[in-house]
């Protein structure tokens, strides 16, 4: 069962048992076979990937120590790749080819990874269902009429469908744990500042963070080790040393104190999800973890706070897409006059999708003179209270557990008429972003209808090790991670 894990593949390449080229060809074949139904990729980089794999095979000695030697990887299409189209799933960047690599891309390639393509996501990572992609949604490998989640839906789908054992997502408000949970893979959102954001197309700068989708917790530890650490190109990346995450995977959770915010996970959670969550807690307790009740009194405010802070930052971050220097430029509409504002208006009206426009308008309003104190400033104050709730909880526990999502994957189009209902689905995931805390989702069961369910663990700042240790121990005691959607084994 280890053949399609990162640990297994990289090990095989390092020992010469398999070639990077053969692994890459298999990944591309699987991609070709599944893509018509999954729509997980915006851009496939087959030639580039094969050339890269061949280069690794030519000089095997160079990759003897490489932790990701020859491992196919799918990158969310909001990570800049030199010479490879990067769209953020937006029409406005449809033709944008970055002249530089994101720091994580450099680090992954230095570790031996082979980029097979750029995955579909919500436009500028704004969304929870992938339906806001300008290219149409990716689909859930477990049920093609359902969402793979968002915003990193394509990455999660590619991971679950067995295309790439490592996929890279970005997370602004649950965009890694949520799709990981509903696609049945492991997703890790590291501490804010743990992984460089340089080259990540910004949505909300104080919330964005990059992390892996993998099949196993061990693989998540391997990838995190490769990408974490200070980057002189990102002033918000932290100098905190990077521990050897794989060393944390002892399989032992005896004495680990797991906080359960019962008040938060009571109402509004799907019955099957609640049951899977309780069983996961029982399993951890069986293995020696101690369950402790904790309170997160301000967590219910996370959604409104998130939509004020994130949209405010987004309205500013997306101002650069003006048609002047790169990307799409649309001539002014007929009769609008030849002036500059008309060009801006026309370009942005046609370049951005409805959800992005909604958030830009919301964020612009939030920052406007006369409203700033009531909205943006107030939201930042509540954000501090949410962080304090966690600080208090972490005085008594080592990690906080909750379901990753209140429901399993919903049908595409189900929330189309009601964005607010969609926003509420992020209730358990956004607080980790607001507080800058690491969060990990690990598969913890299936609904009767065969839809995956995830267990989320939230940890202290820079304590990814505890999350990885607890999740790994849980994973060893269960077989959920071995389940494959039919499309993956086709």
């Amino acid at each position: 069962m280890t053949e399609d894990t990162i640990a297994g593949l990289a090990g095989a390449v390092r020992t010469g048992a398999r070639t990077a080229t053969e692994i890459c060809q298999r990944a591309l074949a699987q991609l070709d076979a599944t893509e018509p139904s999954l729509h997980a990729f915006n851009t496939v980089a087959a030639d580039r990937a094969l050339a890269r794999a061949a280069a690794i095979d030519r000089h095997p000695a160079r990759w003897k120590q490489a932790p990701l030697a020859g491992v196919p990887i799918a990158l969310k299409d909001n990570l800049c790749t030199r010479g490879l189209r990067t769209t953020a799933s937006s029409r406005i960047l449809d033709t944008f080819v970055p002249p530089y690599d994101a720091t994580v891309v450099e680090r992954l390639e230095a570790a031996g990874a082979v980029v097979v393509g750029k995955t579909n996501c919500d436009e500028f990572a704004m969304g929870s269902s992938n339906e806001n992609s300008a290219y149409g949604p990716a689909r859930n490998p477990w049920a093609l009429d359902r969402t793979p989640g968002g915003s990193s839906g394509g990455s999660a789908a590619a991971g679950a469908a067995g295309i790439a054992p490592a996929a890279r997502g970005s997370d602004t408000g649950g965009s890694i744990p949520q799709p990981a949970a509903i696609c049945g893979v492991v997703g890790l959102k590291p501490t804010y500042g743990r992984v460089s954001r340089y080259g990540l197309i910004a949505f909300a700068s104080s919330l964005d963070q990059i992390g892996p989708f993998t099949r196993t917790v061990r693989d998540a530890a391997l990838v995190l080790s490769a990408i974490a650490g200070h980057d002189p190109m990102d002033a918000t990346s932290e100098a905190e040393p990077v521990p050897p995450y794989a060393d944390a995977l002892t399989g032992d959770v005896r004495g680990a104190r797991i906080g359960v915010p019962r008040g938060l996970v009571g109402a509004g959670v799907d019955r099957e999800v609640a049951q899977a969550f309780d069983e996961a807690l029982a399993s951890l307790a069986d293995r020696g973890a101690r369950l402790v009740d904790v309170e997160l009194p301000h967590a219910p405010y996370a959604i409104p706070v998130y939509y004020l802070v994130a949209t405010a930052e987004a309205s500013s971050n997306l101002a650069r897409y003006d048609g002047v220097r790169y990307g799409m430029r649309t001539p002014p509409a007929a009769g609008a006059g030849p002036d500059l504002p008309a060009m801006y208006a026309s370009t942005r009206a046609q370049g951005f999708g409805p959800e992005v426009k909604r958030r830009i308008m919301l964020g612009t309003y939030v920052l406007s003179a006369g409203y700033y104190d009531a909205y943006y400033l107030k939201a930042q104050q509540v954000r501090t209270l949410i962080l304090r709730d966690y600080d208090r909880a972490f005085e008594r526990v080592d990690a906080v557990a909750m379901p990753t999502t209140p429901t399993p994957a919903f049908r595409l189009g189900e929330h189309a008429a009601d964005p607010l209902q969609m926003y509420l689905g992020d209730v358990f995931t956004v607080s980790a972003n607001l507080a800058g805390l690491p969060a990990l989702s690990v598969p913890c069961g299936f609904t009767a209808g065969g839809l995956p369910i995830g267990l989320q663990l939230i940890g202290r700042r820079h304590d990814e090790s505890t999350l990885l240790r607890v999740a790994d121990a849980y994973e060893r005691g269960t077989a959920w991670w071995t389940h494959r959607p039919p499309i993956a084994t086709r």
Partner: protein, 481 residues
């Protein structure tokens, strides 16, 4: 009714750092368009700013020189507006928590002294430059050069403490002199390294309330600033006197017509939607760093002027002249260190040297006669080896040839005749040749004395020590015992 003007300035000054404020690109001026750019200063998707420490040090120096309090923690903020030369759609600046506040600059001295408050000094990035003219298709197109995008700036905002256009121009000049003295700005207003906007309003003299102000932009010389303010104040007084109202707006100075013209009204003013820049942590300048910066700063103009005046017994005027630039003050003190008498050095710097520099178009820092060379010349003069007029000739030769004074004097036999016996002989010779003049002098015609001095000097080919010639001639003409 008489009116009083109330004026405050906003000065933008480029900081002379090697690289830009948030990326590694060169911050130098004059490169071909768009050759000093990278993903960061072009605002490409995903690029992030990283603060240049050298820009912070320079800004802190400027703030300290203006007697501001430098805050241990200041915060960058985004100023949001759309313009093609602003690649991110926002400018990274400082807003609620600037680098420094509460400074002061004093104009004039004694009873006429005016204290002008400095509200704040903050750091920000410059935008690119829109090129509206100079291309074949400039009637249809605007080109943008992003070389300037991300060049570090400080903005200095003064209190509305100025009351006249002349004072405003003097303050601008003083701020320029201080920044150039510190070496943090090159003072080049033509290249846009130093720019000035002014806020101005008028009110009946003595009235406590402020009138409605206008902001006048594009005042890039001391003269433009003064002219624009004179025009704008006259315009506002005319409006108010006619019972009309001044509209709060931004106006542009048109140098060609000497008038200010409306640019945009308050209603059209931007809502910049400032908020803290999430890509940069707060800027911390702790006490230790502040102390290091303070220690590395040169002595400031006022302090140096006072010190030179006292130490070398210079007049107020001379001390001010000699500290007009740091290079001048350095030159002066270097000459003294090399042995030049202070008064003489000052006198020569303001006289011969200033003239030569002006003629050659040289800066004192690049003077062809260095401080040590001048000191050597002045030592020869002071010792009486050469006369004052001879020294001027030697100086001219030095400036033209770069040769040292001693060498010129020796090679051209210019040393002064100071020997008593030699001069006595020259005097005797002159008396013998011009007995008529001697008779005239003795007959009471004092003017004949000058004639005889001239004859002695002529015989000495100008090299005789004039004081000695005087004394010895007078002695020789005294009636015999």
């Amino acid at each position: 009714m008489s009116f009083e003007a109330v004026i405050g300035l906003e000065i933008h000054a480029h900081l002379r750092t090697a690289s830009k404020i948030f990326c590694g690109c060169s911050a130098s001026f004059g490169a071909p368009p768009n050759t000093q750019v990278c993903p960061v200063c072009l605002g490409l998707p995903g690029a992030l700013p990283v603060l240049n420490r050298a820009a912070v040090d320079a800004a802190v120096q400027a703030a300290l020189a203006l007697s501001c309090s430098v805050h241990e923690t200041s915060v960058f903020a985004r100023k949001n507006y759309f313009y093609p030369d602003l690649p991110k759609g926002y400018q990274i600046s400082q807003y609620e928590r600037p680098l420094a506040t509460g400074g002061v600059v004093e104009l004039g001295a004694g009873a006429a002294a005016r204290r002008i408050g400095i509200t704040r000094v903050h750091l920000e990035e410059d935008a690119g430059k829109s090129l509206h003219a100079g291309f074949a298709d400039s009637d249809r197109k605007t080109y943008v050069d992003y070389n300037r995008s991300g060049v570090p700036l400080i903005e200095i905002v003064t209190e509305p403490d100025l009351r006249s256009p002349a004072d405003a121009a003097e303050l601008f000049a003083r701020l320029r002199a201080i920044l150039v003295w510190l070496g943090v700005n090159d003072g080049n207003m033509e290249e846009g390294s130093l720019r000035c906007d002014a806020n101005v309003s008028v009110r009946p003299a003595g009235a406590p309330a402020l009138g409605t102000k206008t902001e006048v932009k594009n005042l890039n010389s001391f003269r433009f600033l003064q002219k624009a303010l004179e025009h704008e104040i006259a315009r506002q007084i005319e409006l108010v006197s006619a019972g009309r109202r001044v509209v709060q707006e931004t106006r542009l100075f048109d140098a060609a017509s000497g008038r200010t013209i409306s640019m945009r009204s308050k209603e059209e003013a931007h809502d910049y939607r400032y908020f803290p820049e999430p890509d940069l942590p707060p800027l911390v300048v702790d006490a230790a760093r502040l102390e290091r910066i303070r220690e590395a700063m040169p002595e400031l103009p006022d302090a140096r002027r006072a010190r030179l005046a006292e130490r070398y017994a210079l007049s107020e005027h001379d001390a001010a002249q000699l500290t007009q630039s740091r290079a001048a003050a350095d030159y002066f003190e270097e000459a003294i260190a090399a042995g030049a008498p202070a008064k003489l050095a000052g006198h020569w710097m303001m006289g011969e040297l200033a003239r030569a520099l002006k003629e050659a178009g040289d800066d004192i820092a690049a003077s062809r006669v260095g401080a040590r060379a001048l000191a050597e010349l002045l030592a020869l003069l002071d010792a009486g080896t050469i006369s004052g007029s001879m020294a001027k000739t030697v100086f001219a030769t030095m400036y033209a040839s770069g040769r040292p004074a001693g060498e010129i004097v020796a090679a051209e036999g210019l040393a002064q005749i100071d020997d008593e016996r030699q001069i006595v002989a020259l005097v005797a010779e002159a008396l013998a040749l011009h007995a008529d003049a001697v008779a005239q002098y003795r007959g009471g015609k004092a003017g004949a004395f000058g004639f005889l001095v001239g004859q002695v000097m002529k015989a000495a080919r100008g090299k005789a020590n004039p004081a000695r010639v005087n004394a010895l001639l007078r002695k020789a003409l005294e009636p015999g015992p």
